[in-house]
Symmetry: C2
Subunit: 252 residues, 2 copies
DNA sequence: CGCTCTGTTGACATACTTCAAAATACGTGG
DNA sequence: CCACGTATTTTGAAGTATGTCAACAGAGCG
């Protein structure tokens, strides 16, 4: 069974068989099983090696001195984190599991080896990082510009799409492991209002959400109410070839 | 005169003389002068080479279909952008000048050459990228958790600190090229409320802001009202040495 | 079967927005 | 250097999206 990381990376471009088997091997070399709701890495603490989430959900979050907490991103199987850990002297944010999870800890020389022996893989890793940044930017845009309802619709679209791209969605349904309180922390709103916003979306026949399972009843309309444009999830194009820049829209 | 990029990168770690002169040379090889308020790169359009902002201010922003605009980050002299442009097939956001600006376009093989001939420089480039991500995360945290007053205080602290670290602040003063409308777009609030928030901060004797010049009258108190912790601007430590991970705060 | 966590509801409060207009600064051409 | 048009800042009054508080109802779990 091919791991979710592979599926994810292959979404960005081709990966030859040798690279694929090497990656699959690396990813099962050193796996830790974790209970739900524990910190893997702590804001202010030391950094770690490159991690790959194999199974379960996790979050990246920041806390303010007074305890307010912002969930920066939701990590699902196939997601990598702390890719540049070796560069930082300490974490500016934390990583915690939401559910029971399995995490692969990659060897310290993983990136170096990939660079030398599997350049196609290395390229896809950078693509992944690039897309992660794009997701982060979209999140900022949500927080700054979208209304509560739009933000909610948007995060639902995003998490559905991301799961679908690693074969974790069945038809219009996928797992959904955020409590309403966690959703509130991700969307910069209050748990009570999250509840009301979800009810709005349900009443409008856009979604169904119960027992950790999200069903999208009308994707087109949900995307419309979210002002969702999924392009940011697939702006990468490792096959496009180096230097082959598209015509540049320079104003000057 | 050493360019701001060099100052910035040297903030992350040492850079030997050969790398410094090579960098300084690369950065003045192909410089474009731009008028204020023009797009350099357009959302949806093609990507470009690695850019370095030499002089003037610019912004990274995203627009929603209906015209709402979120300023994602403010670029000041020494900042680089589009570092991974070659990986993406299109831009998920735009870059525009705010003031008249000068921008260096680096050669397509800049990164490759740096990797081969100036590994110390390459490392600092990744550090820079890493810090940019941290800034982006802090921005999300602001948008999601901080009140209008806190967000305002925070962005003022950040822009002051960043300018200071490239010698662009004199005492407690620095340039400030955002209009109140732009400030509003960066902070996810309304221009009117930006105005009122600024007046609050002024009335409280925290800042002075007039004629594109910001003066911080009481940094300690401003940081306190912002819940500002400047560590995120200097989490990088290229000298720390590869593999020398600090003791890890694993919960498991 | 009782505890704790999560979801739901209602009434009320407020931080922030909206609209609209005046005052001030800013740039440009004459 | 002035005069005019445009962009920015400032002010006031009124509206609303979202937050707060508090209580209750289910669900999950040992």
């Amino acid at each position: 069974m091919t791991p979710h990381v592979t599926l994810k990376l292959r979404g960005f471009g081709d990966l030859n068989d040798a690279s694929q088997t090497w990656l699959a091997d690396q990813v099962q070399r050193n796996v830790r099983s974790l209970p739900p709701r524990v910190d893997l890495l702590c804001q202010g603490g030391g950094t770690g090696p490159l991690h790959v989430l194999i199974e379960g959900w996790a979050i990246r979050y920041k806390t303010l001195e007074d305890g307010r907490r912002q969930i920066l991103s939701v990590l699902i199987p196939g997601d990598m984190f702390d890719i540049n850990g070796h560069l930082a002297k300490s974490m500016d944010h934390s990583i915690a599991t939401l559910t029971p999870a399995r995490v692969a800890l990659l060897a310290d020389d993983f990136l170096d080896t990939a660079r030398k022996l599997h350049p196609d893989l290395e390229k896809l890793l950078w693509c992944d990082m690039h897309v992660s940044s794009a997701i982060q930017r979209e999140r900022s845009t949500s927080l700054g510009q979208r209304t509560a309802r739009e933000r909610m619709a948007h995060i639902l679209c995003e998490l559905f799409m991301r799961q679908r791209s690693v074969r974790l969605a069945e038809g219009g349904s996928c797992a959904f492991h955020l409590t309403q309180t966690e959703l509130a922390e991700a969307l910069g709103m209050t748990p009570v209002y999250v509840n009301r916003t979800l009810q709005d979306l349900r009443r409008d026949g856009l979604i169904q959400l119960e027992q950790k399972c999200l069903t999208i009843l009308d994707l087109t309309r949900l995307e419309a109410t979210a002002l969702f444009d999924g392009d940011y999830l697939k702006i990468c194009d490792a096959d496009g070839g180096a230097g082959a820049h598209k015509e540049n829209a320079h104003a000057f």
